[in-house]
């Protein structure tokens, strides 16, 4: 459908260019907040507090980053986030992949029922308080393990992968069984290699969710030594808006509260930017949409 531009009428050309202009405008406005934060993080404290930073850094300096990188809590929380992301994602995959496979097998007795058990949790949820009390009763407050296991699974990911498994021709499973494979081997040697795109998508979503997760970490973790980066960042930001007395300790001429916060935000976004191209690869494969329907 993409004809040579010369073949377009004047009206169509105007339309095409106008459209490009509008899309460009939207894109720039999407991008701007990131640029703004990045600019702040490289500006001097004075420039930031006196409101000179709009688009590009003013009095370029890396003092804010130096301050961030010398903050022990930054490193502790960064390390924690890394632990939660790594082990959380592994745990998620260890639960989701076998479960989705089992739920996709026609020979599973009560398959409809088990699928309903999973899907029902998308529509009805006990809510914050019972979940919290349950975690407390399980002794999972303030523990690495609690954060890792408590959020390892969700109905959406299971259904997404189950649909993918269901789309694999059953004759492949049958052929593998005839070839002597047991269920574990069928899953490991046939279905997992074939579901790579779907598993990659789920993995990336788990990673992003883990990296960004903050609410339950904030609620469940009391020990400062266990909090993830997002909770640390949140503490900084609330102080920013509350004008906490701690904030005043950060006011120096070379960095300010604003620039330090901005620097932490940048440090937190960078890993996401790093895996973002991998996520992008799966956008157009329709896998993301597969989960919408059962």
């Amino acid at each position: 459908m993409n004809l040579n531009m010369n073949l377009y009428s004047r009206g169509d050309k105007a339309f095409v260019y106008m459209n490009m202009f509008l899309v460009g405008l939207f894109t720039i406005s999407t991008l701007y907040p990131f640029i703004y934060i990045a600019a702040l993080s490289f500006s001097s404290g004075d420039a930031a507090t006196s409101g000179q930073v709009v688009l590009t850094p003013v009095d370029v300096t890396i003092e804010a980053y130096k301050r961030v990188l010398s903050e022990p809590m930054f490193w502790t929380s960064y390390k924690n986030t890394f632990i939660y992301t790594l082990f959380g994602t592994i745990t998620s995959l260890l639960i989701i992949i076998p479960g989705a496979y089992a739920l996709s097998r026609p020979q599973l007795i009560g398959r409809r029922f088990w699928n309903l058990v999973v899907a029902f949790t998308m529509w009805f949820n006990a809510g914050m308080i019972p979940f919290f009390l349950n975690m407390r009763d399980l002794g999972l407050l303030d523990s690495y393990f609690g954060i890792i296991i408590g959020f390892a699974c969700n109905a959406f990911n299971i259904i997404l992968l189950r649909n993918f498994f269901e789309a694999i021709p059953s004759s492949l499973e049958e052929a593998a069984r005839m070839d002597g494979a047991n269920e574990f081997q069928v899953l490991w040697k046939v279905f997992i290699p074939l579901a790579k795109p779907a598993i990659a998508t789920i993995t990336l979503f788990c990673i992003v969710a883990r990296w960004n997760g903050f609410f339950w970490a904030m609620v469940l973790l009391r020990d400062e030594q266990k909090i993830p980066l997002q909770v640390f960042l949140r503490q900084m930001i609330t102080q920013l808006s509350d004008d906490d007395e701690f904030a005043s300790t950060l006011i120096e001429s070379v960095y300010s509260f604003e620039t330090v916060s901005a620097a932490i935000m940048v440090c937190s976004i960078i890993p996401v930017l790093f895996i973002y191209p991998f996520i992008q690869r799966y956008f157009n494969k329709g896998i993301l949409l597969g989960g919408v329907k059962e």
Partner: protein, 308 residues
């Protein structure tokens, strides 16, 4: 009895043959039971005078007392009102944007430009709520934020946006649109990719302009998707991004910002009134369940395909 024994024997043979898939299913089921179904059992505290020492089962029943308390409480009523208002406004202002965006992406001819712009507008979806909040707080800061700088340069007085109740909703909804519009457009782009190219080709032969093709072909073809997405959104009316609200609101803005989830968070997790908060949560969950189920039924009837 014979057939019962037969069934049992059959089950025995089946398990002997297929035990492995049950082993594979077990972790998932156990997880769902321990982390999602056990809390449902714990929901009973909504009808109990919950005491930490007596536990969930041991605490005495109080019937609907908590619900009576809740509906007599101005703050809870306010939270319901705010939930519905914020959600509806998000729908009205936020729903059309991804559709427009998808239509615009669809009309871009230069593949490189298309890919770059798409990459950028999808990005905010993957950014954490805390950072979104951080950006908002920084940008709307009264002394140094870029928004106030702009206002000042235009001759206005600086506004302390985040303590003004009337500004909370626009800021919240605006940041939601900024974060999610791009990513939400994927669904519509996928629907457009499914339109038969022959339709456009015959339209070109018939001399249609691109503007006409958009209105006469693209939009009618993606209308079913639009309707279904709209129904899903209405079904999720009670779901507001409460994490962002928790990060952005302050006692000064509770009037317009406090929603059911944040109310539950404050009453339950911050003030320790677990039973009352659980009752509010149960109310929320039941209404949400009814909405979602109705949405599913309607869309099933409209499209003959279930959403789940």
């Amino acid at each position: 009895m014979q057939s019962y024994n037969e069934k049992l024997a059959w089950l025995g043979r089946h398990l002997k043959r297929e035990w492995q898939i049950y082993v594979l299913l077990a972790p998932t089921l156990i997880w769902f039971i321990v982390f999602l179904y056990k809390p449902m059992y714990g929901l009973q505290i909504a009808f109990k005078d919950y005491s930490v020492f007596k536990g969930i089962v041991g605490s005495p029943w109080v019937g609907f007392e908590h619900f009576t308390t809740l509906f007599g409480n101005d703050h809870f009523i306010r939270a319901i009102k705010n939930t519905v208002i914020i959600s509806s406004l998000s729908l009205v202002f936020g729903f059309p944007v991804p559709i427009l965006l998808a239509l615009m992406f669809n009309e871009i001819l230069n593949p490189k430009f298309k890919k770059t712009t798409q990459t950028i507008v999808y990005l905010p979806h993957f950014i954490s709520t805390v950072i979104i909040a951080g950006i908002v707080i920084t940008a709307f800061s009264p002394s140094s934020g870029v928004v106030n700088l702009l206002l000042q340069s235009l001759g206005f007085d600086p506004v302390y946006f985040l303590v003004k109740p009337e500004w909370f909703r626009p800021i919240f909804i605006g940041s939601g649109i900024w974060q999610e519009s791009g990513f939400s457009s994927i669904v519509f782009l996928a629907a457009m990719a499914g339109v038969n190219p022959a339709l456009y080709e015959s339209a070109v032969v018939d001399g249609a302009s691109r503007w006409q093709m958009m209105w006469k072909i693209t939009i009618p073809c993606i209308l079913p998707t639009i309707i279904i997405m709209l129904i899903i959104r209405i079904g999720n009316l009670l779901e507001v991004g409460f994490e962002l609200i928790i990060l952005l609101y302050q006692p000064a803005t509770y009037d317009t910002a406090d929603v059911i989830s944040t109310y539950i968070y404050r009453q339950g997790l911050q003030a320790g009134q677990y039973d009352l908060a659980a009752a509010a949560g149960l109310f929320n969950a039941v209404v949400a369940f009814i909405l979602v189920m109705s949405a599913n039924t309607i869309s099933k009837r409209l499209s003959n395909t279930s959403l789940w």
